[in-house]
Amino acid sequence: MGSVRRHIHINRDPDTVWALVGDLARQHEWFPFSSSRLEGKKRWMTTPSGITFEEDIVTHDHALRRFQYRIVGNPGITSHLGTCDVIEDGHGGCTVVYSTDMEPDALAIVVAGAAGEGLSKLKHMMESA
């Protein structure tokens, strides 16, 4: 199992950050996906290369500011759990943590790279807003 994690500190209050991160139909605005589609507890995320991932939303907890999802229906991905947390830092800002546990493990590294880019974009969006 490939287990990876990226995080970033954002100088914006966690509720503001969660307003975007927790809106699961808008993840393509900050993560390097080209589009998102949300229907109830199902989501489809499409990459710029045209690959669409079907996902089950596992957790969407506004109080905890956490969402978790699993990629399903993809024969090339045998196990997956993605987790994103927005954690208050006690000083008016927050840390966003994006974790992935995945088989094949090689793909977890690719998701980590995308998460790193996404978190950087999220920080820029939040701090320049």
Binding site: P32, T47, P48, P104, D105, A106, V110, G113, A114, G116
Partner: protein, 522 residues
Amino acid sequence: MGRKILFITTDQQRYDALGCNGGLIARTPVIDGLAKNGIVFDRAHPQNVVCMPSRSTMLTGQHVSTHGVWMNGVPLASDAPSIAADLRRAGYRTALIGKAHFEPFIDPFLRFAENRIGSAGLETEMVIGEDGLPAPHRGFEHFALATHGGVGPFHYARWLREKNPAAAAMFFQVLDQQLQVNAGGGGDTNAPQVKHNEMPRELYHTEWVADQTIDWLSSLPADADWFCWMSFPDPHHPWDPPKSELGRVNWRELDLPAGYIEDAAERERVLDDKPRHWRMWYEGTFISNYEAPAKWVPKTLTADNVREVNAMAHIENELIDEAIGRVLASVASRGWGDDVDVLYTTDHGELQGDYGLLFKGPYHTDSLMRLPLLWSPAKSAKIAPARVSAPVGLVSLAATFANIAGLTRPDYTESERLPVNDGEARDLGHERVLTEWDSVMFGKIVHARTICRDGWVCTAMLPGTVHDGSEGELYDLANDPLQHNNLWSSTQHVAQRDALLDDMWSSLPTRVLPLRPCDAPV
């Protein structure tokens, strides 16, 4: 008009692959001809023994600790220095044709320019430089990208799909369903990553790279100065040259290479004399990096596997030589023959059976570190042929290109240009060459640092998952050319070892921190 530069690279090629370096199997008359009239470097090392870090060194003229591509999967910063960009600013036309690999291949998010350029069929991607002006990605106005097969986003794969939609499947499948290097085998001996490829030769990537190079050069005006990096994906695994060419080298008739130790007990004694990760990989108990099949155990490698892999590599090397011949003929037909500097090298070597191993990893011996490197200067430069024994590195290439173009050495480069003979090597300070290894793969951590100078190679294994910092390697290259006798712990050689280590630590650049993240396995 100035001197033009044809920079030819192969991928994962050994020093002894070429006739000019004593190779006896592959016929490489074109490269040997360049060597005869040029400068041959007999002790050229890469600064890292896998693709992305080594290629980044070629482009930037920097050691790995500086450019920050510390393992495969770590992208070179998009704003990293590039000698191609400097040459372009000086008026050179610039192209990279074949394998680039400054950025990860596995990229469904199309985060990296090479993959975007390839998938969209573009020539390049323009970015805004420090001067606020648009400039092509890494200084190359023209990319025609390829890798080791027919899948993926690059220009070659797109071209191949158009020519024959079924052709991509003719190659050996490099990665398996888990995106690991495929442990499967084929050919006559079920050797790893070997396949009898039904592809017609004219569709093979070696031919395509040469054709694309000829086409691009043909598009240039006669008075253009140009820098063309022609980058062959072979003889890197998979070993699957066109089946039509297999008659060139019959593996059944090959002697085993000198580095392969037939007797298992002796082979394992040699491995046990090295730092522990050598034997652990051989046994399949410690897989530290993605560059070899995780599910393949080197101990299972047979002598016939070694023969067949070597035969395949020799065949691929012959095809490369002939492709270069076609390109040089085209260059000559343009009237450029006297004004072109040709530099030829590779990014790293290949174990190819040495010590009972294949592929590559944190194994700093000649198999992976001693590279073919030669420079055939433009006739107009009137530089005498020579063989250079002084240690040099690929880190000197960028400064060499600048020098050929009449530019001052860029400030960002970390080495003097290549010397034209041993006397100049002394004058330029080519006393040592350094190689770094760092890999972190889900908690499996390996770090190594190597120096080569004065006929010695010394490697320190730094603390990691299986090393405590006390292990290393020390070889006397003159008396132990196959590096079978590790003198690291020899009491008679402690002073020699420690002097080398002192020199290495004082010569290595300070590592730029924080480390750049690894964004893909390769």
